[in-house]
Symmetry: C2
Amino acid sequence: MTEKLPKIAVIGLGLIGSSIIHAAKLFGAAEKITGFDSSMEVVKEAKDLGLPVTLVDDIGVAVSDADIVFLAVPVGVMAEVVKQIASNLKPGAILTDTGSTKRSVISDITPLISDNISFVPGHPLAGTEFSGPSSGFSTLFKDHYWLLIGREKTKKPTSVIAKFCERLGAIVEVMDADYHDKILAITSHLPHLIAFTIVGTASDLENDLKNDVIRFSASGFRDFTRIASSDPTMWRDVFLNNDEAVLEMLQRFTEDLGYLQRAINQGEGAILLNLFKRTREIRRSIIDVGFAKK
Amino acid sequence: MTEKLPKIAVIGLGLIGSSIIHAAKLFGAAEKITGFDSSMEVVKEAKDLGLPVTLVDDIGVAVSDADIVFLAVPVGVMAEVVKQIASNLKPGAILTDTGSTKRSVISDITPLISDNISFVPGHPLAGTEFSGPSSGFSTLFKDHYWLLIGREKTKKPTSVIAKFCERLGAIVEVMDADYHDKILAITSHLPHLIAFTIVGTASDLENDLKNDVIRFSASGFRDFTRIASSDPTMWRDVFLNNDEAVLEMLQRFTEDLGYLQRAINQGEGAILLNLFKRTREIRRSIIDVGFAKK
């Protein structure tokens, strides 16, 4: 007996949405894939690329036949999108999302869907600094974590989504939303905020100096500019929707930075050396768990 | 007539020193290469690797025959090293260094050398997060800038060093020390300080959370841990010796970060979006000048 594959709908054809489509096609994970994007420009780009998906003009029609609906849109518009599709979802359908914040998405979406729809919040820890359909590729999720938020009443739908994500090459981990938002605040959101800030600081320098900063951007700054070129709308929404955890981590970071500022000002080399030795160890831990090159 | 190649001595056999040796050998840039390191462990590593250099136990002997002496040691020990070699330098020899700060190195070294020695301060904008002789390689400098500090009385020696660096594949730029230290504060020193700080902040988290931060280190944090695993001693010395420029840039950065903190706290999305669009442009400028992938 061959396993029955799900029909899926992908809302949002950016980096993540288009990669889900590519991967589902490559790994034969779906019986049928329909896609929708609210931007005409994005739809045209997807068509021109020959993205392997049935593009549908009407968002309600796009989801009406789907067993699984992926919301791959900025977290700030999740509620708006769900309002447009809630009444078109097939009874028994599973709704999942790929947003970088989870508490906000859960509180935005949960009140909008009926009891015969299961919502499994998700977040693939995969991405690049590029955006749009042309940036997607089929192996984006390979060997990357895909976090799912587990709840008692969605045990079975969670395992369906988990299986689907694993087919795309991902490693699934189930955790709760608070913990997710805290982890992401320190591993992703705060690093992005800092990178945006320092690149902004550099761009405010007087013109000659700024041009030479660009010209002589040594490895440190260049890495930051890559991070700071990530999708502006997505990141605005992340900071507004994970504000609590981000502000808490930012507070700790600012205190630690103040401590180093004082050490430099006072010429206290031992404080600097001790920290730098400690941070080197963290890198070794990351290499030990085998994810440093990904 | 074939050009006469210089005899060179390399003091310090870490990432930079060993790369100079590899590159000089590969590109046939030197008639003879002698090397010295104060650490027995490093010397042993260099021997075991078969680093293509004549290793000498006595630092005075190592430099006595050299036309060019490279000081590839942390900026905090430049003065001490020069005290040990000053009386052994050949009249007419050129002394150059590879330190990341230039004002401090100039004020440390200048009073220690006699008039028949030329000092050409230098700084190759090349490196990795690894250290020690085994991390060096012959193409480290290829297509990377090598900054030299130009002064009226060292015009000819500066052109000799420039030619040598170009043979190793580098692009030479001559500038003044103040400007160098300011550029590096923003492109390299502050990014490193921030990366050290955030990785330190993460390492102070309670144990479970810390382990999961390591496990789920998304791209942002992972890039920071790489930067924060750079050589501790070298970086302590950088911050203590370029304190003025680093603290000035840190002040600007901290103000900018406070502004974003407030924007997040107040839910002012437009401020965030405007900045993120602006930082994306900076990345484009860097890609335009063709150095983004290096």
